[in-house]
Subunit: 316 residues, 2 copies
Amino acid sequence: MFMQNEISSVIVYERHSVTSRRPGPVSRGRLSDIPSPLLPERYYWDSKLRIPTADYQEVLEDDKAALAWLLALRRVGIVYLKGAPAQQGQVSRLAKRIGYLRLTFYGHTWQVQDKPMANNVAYTSGKLSQHTDYPALHFAPGVQFLHCINQAVEGGESEVVDGFHAAEQLQREDPEAFSTLSSLHVDFTDTGTDYCDFMLQSKKCIIDVDAEGRVARINYNNATRDSVLDLPLHQVQPFYRALRSYVDVMNRPENVVTYRMEPGDLVTFDNWRLLHGRRSYVSNPGRLRHLEGAYLDWDEVMSRLRILRRKVHGDA
Amino acid sequence: MFMQNEISSVIVYERHSVTSRRPGPVSRGRLSDIPSPLLPERYYWDSKLRIPTADYQEVLEDDKAALAWLLALRRVGIVYLKGAPAQQGQVSRLAKRIGYLRLTFYGHTWQVQDKPMANNVAYTSGKLSQHTDYPALHFAPGVQFLHCINQAVEGGESEVVDGFHAAEQLQREDPEAFSTLSSLHVDFTDTGTDYCDFMLQSKKCIIDVDAEGRVARINYNNATRDSVLDLPLHQVQPFYRALRSYVDVMNRPENVVTYRMEPGDLVTFDNWRLLHGRRSYVSNPGRLRHLEGAYLDWDEVMSRLRILRRKVHGDA
């Protein structure tokens, strides 16, 4: 369990970890990457997590701060940045610090507001139960940025859960449910118009595991899970029972971290790992609650992390 | 084996196939997608393929032509478009016909030319052996567009192979090699500067198979396969032997389709399935050979295919 909010000690740990576990002299003639087994290990957390926090301007300007940010994003799955200007454009600036953002059918960046004729439940004032974003894409965005420009006067608190930790609990407490959710493919769908018209369909396991059986990605969004359940009859009840079991684990108060974004706060998190939600809020048409969001992918984030590590530590 | 270059009969087949295999009345209240088992099946091909060909302007302007293009792209894996203006910007126009292109570290679109201090082997006049693009990204681009603006006077012919067909041949003739290439993860790497600086590392199987063991994606580019082979000693020789065996199959003359792009030709192909290469050419500094390329992903292509199918056939 990792409960740490001082990003400087995240990096100290990382340097030690990398140094002590590095193999012998590297024989290749060019700058080498630290092999993935030596990547920062993930630290699973629960409601007692103090979210790692850094300064937005420092991350933009200082390589050490940017490296610490990305290492903590990889290891803890969520990092909070404070001190961004409370105006649009900050998620794009932060994406440029890495490389580029990922365009989707919701645009380069997207405005989370209470909108008339909303094309997505996020664009209402309603509660959003725990979910990952965009499982209707076969390759869901790896990283999400959300920047608070205006907060509601009442409600609108954010909630996050470590989906890997919850999946590990499920595997221990209800192995049959874990096995069901990591083997049955269910459909996700998203149809509408935004950046342009779209009609997405995907088939996903709720819990993706890698070749070694380790949890690799969570795909869960009940708002876009298809109304058609394309499973043989004998798997229908086991699937719903298993999903209920996982949702019950993720909603346990001891697993949920709640925070309230204020204007200028910008949260960055691992969308393959974290589930996130929002409490309903009272909409004020004169001063709309307003978050701006953007997506990136892990390949680009890890690329920047490698470059920063070389710059900061000079490790070739 | 599918040897067909009249795109109109591709769509006739598709309509029949979809109609005859459609399940009973659809109960959901909204426009439904045809479930993925009813997608056009893939047709494997060899050197006798006549590449399906359509008119660039028609695909841009006519929904039926665009639908036939995308169905053939899915089924055959390659479609040739003729009659594009021989100037930059056409791959972007064609991407907008679908939705949007995929930005990578090589930019929104990229210029394949003989460049001084090339940061990629494609940007020379040398031969390119059969490869898929960008396995250094964990999620390699699904679809590639290449538009010929200038061709070399001598050399520069294009070569393509159906990687799924070659993998099927390998599985039949050398099952041990197939099993090795679909289970061992090897490293790919790409470091340099283009759209911005990058330092990519990935671990991939050369042949990805799905949960049912069917070939789902080829990841092979010897120019970006890492010089470090991160395998236990006893797997090193079996891996090289297996790779050699697959490369021998893909290079058999009876598997290779050769064509020569002329200015205004635009080829679109499935980068998860096809291997492509280029013969060396004589570089003429006064009139450089010039292709413009762009990437897209299958989720966006399939989204447009569903929308076009609804428009053209009115199937809800």
